[in-house]
Symmetry: C2
Subunit: 177 residues, 2 copies
DNA sequence: TCGAGCATGTAAATGGTTACATGATTGC
DNA sequence: GCAATCATGTAACCATTTACATGCTCGA
């Protein structure tokens, strides 16, 4: 799985500019696959060179021009081939856990403060996910599998945040908040 | 936070070779910060150039030579400076969730099978963490904060796997296993 | 004798971040 | 007038992966 597949996935829902792609990613898949805008623009370029996407220019007077990208048939083939042929190995880097593993010497006061701040931040993220959740229709899998699976990826984010928050609260209780 | 900090963290517990470092990472911090062996060797080299670690050669007849790395005083300073000055932004890439977001068209049968396989794999990982957990002493934070925090990072792994497994089981129930 | 584990690395390529660079519009 | 948002990209650098490369020991 790579950024190319993610971008093809978005374009499979309809044409988008690089900018819109970037925004959309930040607001959905971005929570479990992040990309910056230079990365997106360069990847779109290389996808176009391979013929997996194409684009039309929209010239706007009094506003920046737009390059509207669409997926091609070859792109659609590549998308579903990639989605199925995945090793599905997660890549995870959580600096907080590294710091906890090595930073015992920083003392209980340091950890109380840092974990309390972290807890607040994670609660804010949970609220963000919950408000997203309200705008998303929940359907049953037989009716609309696609929508159901998308809903479940957001549900994952909410469940994960809830787990994280409980875990942090437990630690804070134990080291005496 | 970067690999340099992680390596300095390990060496702060005592001297190690690149190989031992690699093994140790795989069996602990590796679950939330992974590195391959070429990465470790090149990072050790650059840490040595900066004077944050040094090494002694152990020549072994009838076995490969060892380079045993130790942290220097400058390295220890850098370690605790880095641990404290972290932005703590997580980096996460979970291909399964991307595939779910874009792969609704693959059909219920495909997802039943894939998720069931994934569930088995995650249960195996949980067992692995649990057996690690048994070999790790659990102390209270006032006695040994360092050991307590290390225990909690493993506890995170166990809690996360449990959450993941429940989440997968729920979905499988809903799409009719 | 063959594979697994120990032990070290380099090289090439890819992936990703940060900084640079431009320029219009809209609302405060 | 300034900041934010829209909209595009390049360049330099750093991080990471995969493949290549070597060679010894020990147990099955």
């Amino acid at each position: 799985m790579d950024l190319q597949t993610v971008i093809l996935g978005f374009l499979n829902d309809g044409p988008l500019t690089g900018y819109e792609l970037s925004k959309r990613m930040d607001a959905s898949v971005g929570f479990y696959w992040h990309a910056t805008h230079p990365q997106i623009y360069t990847t779109l370029k290389s996808l176009a060179k391979k013929g997996l996407v194409d684009f039309t220019m929209e010239y706007q007077s009094g506003a920046p021009n737009k390059k509207i990208y669409s997926i091609t048939d070859a792109g659609r083939d590549a998308l579903f081939r990639n989605l199925q042929s995945e090793t599905l190995k997660d890549e995870v880097k959580i600096p907080l856990l590294v710091a906890m593993y090595f930073g015992g010497e920083l003392g209980p006061q340091y950890w109380r403060e840092l974990l309390a701040n972290h807890l607040d931040a994670q609660k804010a993220v949970l609220e963000q996910y919950r408000s997203l959740c309200e705008s998303l229709p929940q359907t049953d899998p037989d009716r609309d599998l696609k929508q159901f699976l998308r809903y479940k990826t957001l549900d994952f984010g909410i469940g994960y945040q809830q787990f994280l928050i409980r875990w942090l609260e437990d630690i804070l209780k134990e080291i005496g908040e």
